[in-house]
């Protein structure tokens, strides 16, 4: 096998790097290696349409199997990389085989954070990230009646909505005072608490899990520090992820909260890149180094790395965006709200049409939208373009965001005269 580009990780970032390299005209060999045995697939449906039976594996494959042959992408699925030798520019597989590279892309992702309480290893305590876990969870959901979800973040709430839609009794235990508190404003947290509650999900915040107790090795009860207990025949844990940095670290690649990269997504070795969930990168929209877990981040960073490897090096400047589907509501998020000091709203929660605009000083940094898709899409352009939108204008429904965006775009194309 010849050098060219070796990509470790067959998730969305790894897949998109390979696909984009070919569409950018890259002619060298491409080797795409990952531990998961399947061809690359989308992860978002695993907590949404897949467990509901609305989507099967074929429908969530990123591309059919033939795509990889057609595009001369050597896909090595189910193979574990055990070491990176940067001096000889080669990687080693578990089998002992060595594969040389000219450029190496680490798209190694993250893994579930494990619950560290007694009883966490009991049978009936499940996690969700991979297809394999999703199949096990889907199967288990069918036969369960009482479900406790530990973690009121996106994954926990999405799977809670799925379980409730399947008619199960569902309780969500969140350690912090409100849902999704790391990323959304209280008004959004409250909206989703009310949504879940109105559909029959029990939401418990400030819930510190003490232990999971069981009988005959099977989980039966989730106990909190305050003494309350919630019976469960299925416990689903969604308490975040930790980036897979060990392979990079062992090879002397700098790591922090993820594999550290510069604005070109290069590590401290210019022939080694890191992208997607595993990469800590400087984000111009956060004015900070961040590590983001999203389809957008994976796909846009992959595209950027592919362009650089194909010979047109440029910095990564894409606007982050996210979404979450819970019951029939889609939460759309643009930008990074962290560090904001003021919020204003447009629309209201009662009508189920609501956007929250986050400002840092004078600057619009993020927008979260529920059933206001135009706010979200135009908002992406406004945030990315540094729109001079004031909080007063953001809150005023009579201010047409689209018009504002058009004016902004026009100013950009006109030569600066004054």
């Amino acid at each position: 096998m010849g050098a060219g580009t070796v990509i470790i990780g067959t998730g969305q970032a790894g897949f998109q790097t390979a696909a984009s390299l070919r569409s950018e005209g890259y002619e060298e060999p491409i080797i795409l290696i990952g531990e998961e045995p399947q061809i690359p697939y989308q992860r978002p449906p695993l907590s949404k349409g897949f467990p509901l039976g609305q989507q099967d594996f074929e429908s969530i494959q990123l591309r059919p199997e033939r795509f990889y042959q057609d595009h001369r992408i050597d896909l090595l699925a189910g193979k574990k990389v055990t070491a990176i030798g940067r001096d000889k520019k080669q990687i080693r597989l578990e089998s002992g085989a060595r594969i040389p590279y000219q450029k190496l892309v680490l798209a190694v992702g993250a893994r579930n954070r494990k619950l560290g309480v007694e009883g966490a290893a009991l049978e009936g305590v499940l996690y969700l990230r991979s297809l394999e876990e999703a199949i096990a969870l889907k199967d288990r959901l069918q036969s369960s009646r009482e479900i406790v979800v530990i973690g009121g973040g996106f994954i926990g709430l999405e799977i809670a909505a799925v379980a409730r839609t399947l008619g199960k009794s569902v309780t969500v235990l969140e350690a912090l005072p409100r849902l999704m508190s790391r990323v959304v404003a209280p008004v959004i947290s409250n909206f989703f608490r009310d949504l879940h509650t109105s559909r029959g999900v029990k939401i418990v915040c400030d819930a510190q899990v003490l232990e999971i107790s069981g009988e005959n090795g099977r989980a039966q009860n989730v106990k909190l520090q305050d003494g309350t207990a919630y019976p469960a025949d299925l416990v689903i844990v969604g308490i975040g992820v930790v980036p897979n940095v060990e392979l990079a670290q062992a090879a002397g690649v700098k790591v922090a909260n993820g594999v550290v990269v510069n604005e070109f997504l290069e590590t401290n070795d210019a022939d080694v890149f890191a992208i997607g969930d595993c990469a800590e990168h400087p984000c111009i929209f956060a004015s900070a180094r961040v590590r983001l877990e999203s389809v957008q981040n994976a796909a846009d960073q992959a595209q950027r790395v592919a362009t650089t490897i194909a010979g047109r090096r440029s910095s990564y400047r894409a606007l982050p965006w996210f979404w979450s589907d819970q019951f029939d509501i889609k939460l759309q998020m643009a930008g990074i709200s962290q560090g904001h000091d003021r919020i204003v709203t447009r629309g209201d929660a009662e009508s189920h049409k609501l956007s929250v605009f986050y400002f840092k000083g004078e600057r619009l940094v993020a927008i979260d939208s529920i059933n206001r898709p135009l706010d979200h899409m135009i908002g992406r352009k406004l945030i990315a373009g540094g729109a001079p939108l004031t909080p007063e204008e953001a809150a005023d429904e009579s201010v047409d965001l689209r018009k504002l965006e058009h004016e902004m775009a026009q100013r950009r194309t006109e030569p600066a005269s004054s």
């Binding site: 989308q42 429908s59 969530i60 389809v295 957008q296 595209q303 965006w321 889609k330 898709p373 899409m377």
Partner: protein, 107 residues
């Protein structure tokens, strides 16, 4: 089985048999049509499955929902009157022969 005709930005046409109920986006991926990226997987969050629908068919499609209309605002190649997201077009027997043109760029 109804046929869908994909015309690349360069003008090359490819005819594909599509089972009823499948989206124009999913059929493109399955059949190796370059020019449909489908980054978000068909949930109206990105615009990378944007197509221009042939005028003879455009009026026969169920109208776009608000979410789709909003996404068309951010299409890499500017939207036209017959722009749609191919993830939102489900193929039916009545749409046999549906012709869509692909934009030059999706990202």
């Amino acid at each position: 089985m109804p046929k869908v005709i994909y015309v690349s930005a360069k003008g090359d046409a490819r005819e594909v048999d599509v089972p009823v109920g499948t989206t124009v986006m999913a059929a493109a991926l399955k059949n190796g049509i370059d020019g449909i990226v489908a980054e978000c997987g068909g949930v109206c969050m990105c615009s990378t499955c944007h197509v221009f629908v042939d005028e003879n068919f455009f009026g026969r499609l169920p109208p776009a929902q608000d979410t789709e209309e909003a996404v068309l605002e951010i299409a890499a190649e500017e939207r036209r009157p017959t722009s749609r997201l191919s993830c939102q077009i489900k193929v039916t027997d009545e749409l046999d022969g549906l012709t869509v043109r692909l934009p030059e760029r999706q990202r």
